[in-house]
Each structure stands twice: as C-alpha cells, then as structure tokens.
C-alpha cells in the first residue's frame, strides 16, 4: 500500500486505517511486515501526475481528479494537499488519496498542465520584485520606489 505521511508512526497508523477498510483485520490482529520509503526514480525529469482524491467537505464525501506537473510524486502530492486546503478548505485528515499515476502527455485532461506541453515554450516574466539576496540585507526603508518592470 502506498501512502503519504510525515513520519513512520503516522504512516503505520494510516496503513491500519486503510487496511481495516479493505480487510477484516486490525492492528492487534495483524503484523506489519515492512515499511519502506519510496524514493523518486528520476527526480530530474518533469512528469505529469494525476491524483485521484476522495475528500470530505462540509456537506459530504466527493471524488476528485487533479493533475500536477512536478519532478517527484511527493512534490505533486504536496501540491495537491496545498491546493485542496486553499481551494476547498479541506485539511489533511479529510483527504484520502485513492490513486496516483504519471499521465502521458496525450492523456492529460487539465488545460493548466496541457499549456506547458510545448517544446518551444516561451513567455516573459511580467513583473520583477527585486529583493536582497539574503534576509540579513533586508532594510525597512528604501530611498526610491521600486520599478517592477522586468
């Protein structure tokens, strides 16, 4: 079973939670054989991740399919949690990841991911915020107003 948790203890707990929904077995009657962290095989290639989510809103349970472009599956899952929290106010405990997968370019559904499927992609960075290279060089007052054009 593949699941996401911030530490091993939480991972084991979540494992038993999901397993109880699949089989009639609980932690007291079962034995966890192995728990392994899965590392990303190709963390320098960009992939399109599809994540199927079941989440609890204020009025009931819903399913969702979300797409993210990222280098790692963990990165995509992190994006998903952040987006669910911001767009739907759904927090971590109310989200269950049903399925994840890397989606080939032809099967991507969301326009937001498909717009980056362009081998000659080109766009300007429209605003530029100049900031000091380290936080220690930050000053409260500046001599002149900033120019945010590129």
């Amino acid at each position: 079973m593949k699941l996401w948790a911030t530490n091993e203890v939480r991972a084991k707990s979540k494992f038993w939670y999901f397993l109880r929904k699949l089989q009639k077995v609980k932690k007291a009657h079962g034995q966890l054989l192995a728990i392994n962290e899965i590392f990303e095989k190709y963390p320098t290639t960009i992939k399109n991740y599809g994540i199927w989510v079941r989440y609890q809103s204020r009025t009931g349970y819903h399913n969702m399919y979300k797409e993210y472009r990222d280098l790692t599956l963990n990165g995509a899952v992190e994006q998903m949690y952040d987006e669910m929290a911001s767009r739907h106010r759904v927090r971590f405990p109310c989200i269950q990841i049903i399925k994840t997968g890397t989606i080939p370019v032809s099967l991507c559904k969301r326009v937001n991911t498909k717009q980056f499927h362009n081998s000659k992609i080109k766009f300007p960075l429209t605003t530029r915020k100049i900031r000091p290279p380290t936080r220690s060089l930050k000053t409260t007052y500046k001599a002149s107003r900033p120019n945010t054009f590129v």
Binding site: I46, T113, S119, I121, F123, F149, V150
Partner: protein, 134 residues
C-alpha cells in the same frame, strides 16, 4: 511595454537568491507557471522558482527540451556563455563588486594611492583651466 527577455529553453539566467546566489544557469525546461528546471555544467539539474532567477540577454540557441548533460556542456561551450557574460556590462559590474569585496588591506591601500594619483592629475588640469579663465 515590450518584453525582451523570455523564459525559454536555452535562456541563461542568474540566480539572485538562495544558496546558489550569483551562479549562471540555463533553463532547460519549464515545470509550471512558477518553476523551471535549470542546469549548468557544474551543478546537478534542479528545479527553481522564477522568483529566484534574473533572466539575462544570453540564450543558447537551438537547445532541445531537457538535453543530456553532455549535450548541455557542449552547447554551453559553443555558445560561449561565460565569455559573453564576462564581456557584458552586467557581468563586468558583478565582477568588479566581487573584486572589491575580496580586497585585503594592502589592496585597499593600493586602490587609495591610485585614486589619489588620478584625482591629482584631474585637479591639476582643472587648476590650469581655471587659471586660463581668470
């Protein structure tokens, strides 16, 4: 408002924030609206936020999406990115800044002597012009 510097594959950018501040990198792919995949002959390929990048005028032409390291190194060398950077006004400014920051006390003394010498020549000429005027 004409935009001259674009995020594109092959665009050379300067990292302006973070632990790799000051390094020149090449954009080899765009992950999403906020992040790019960057690479450089002497670093591993990583992602970076566009907020940490300052685009330069230098591009490596005809670079394919996510080239292999070997291809990137060859393209970087043949496009003479480092030479173009060193001869650009921006690159020269940063080099001067770095040099000034790395001076030791004796170097600063030498700079002071040179400045005094230069200003004395200027003031001598200025004095001559004033005496002519008067």
């Amino acid at each position: 408002m004409v935009f001259r510097r674009f995020v594109e594959i092959g665009r050379v950018a300067l990292i302006n924030y973070g632990p790799q501040h000051g390094k020149l990198v090449v954009i080899v792919d765009v992950i999403d609206q906020n992040r790019a995949l960057i690479d450089s002959p002497d670093m591993t390929r990583t992602q970076i936020n566009f907020k940490r990048l300052s685009l330069t005028d230098i591009t490596i032409p005809d670079l394919s999406r996510t080239p292999s390291k070997k291809v990137l190194k060859e393209a970087y060398a043949s496009a003479e990115v480092d030479q173009k950077w060193a001869s650009s006004a921006w690159g020269k400014k940063l080099a001067v800044r770095a040099k000034r920051a790395s001076l030791n006390d004796f170097d600063r003394f030498k700079v002071m002597v040179a400045r005094v010498k230069r200003s004395s020549i200027v003031r001598r000429e200025l004095g001559k012009l004033r005496r002519e005027k008067a």
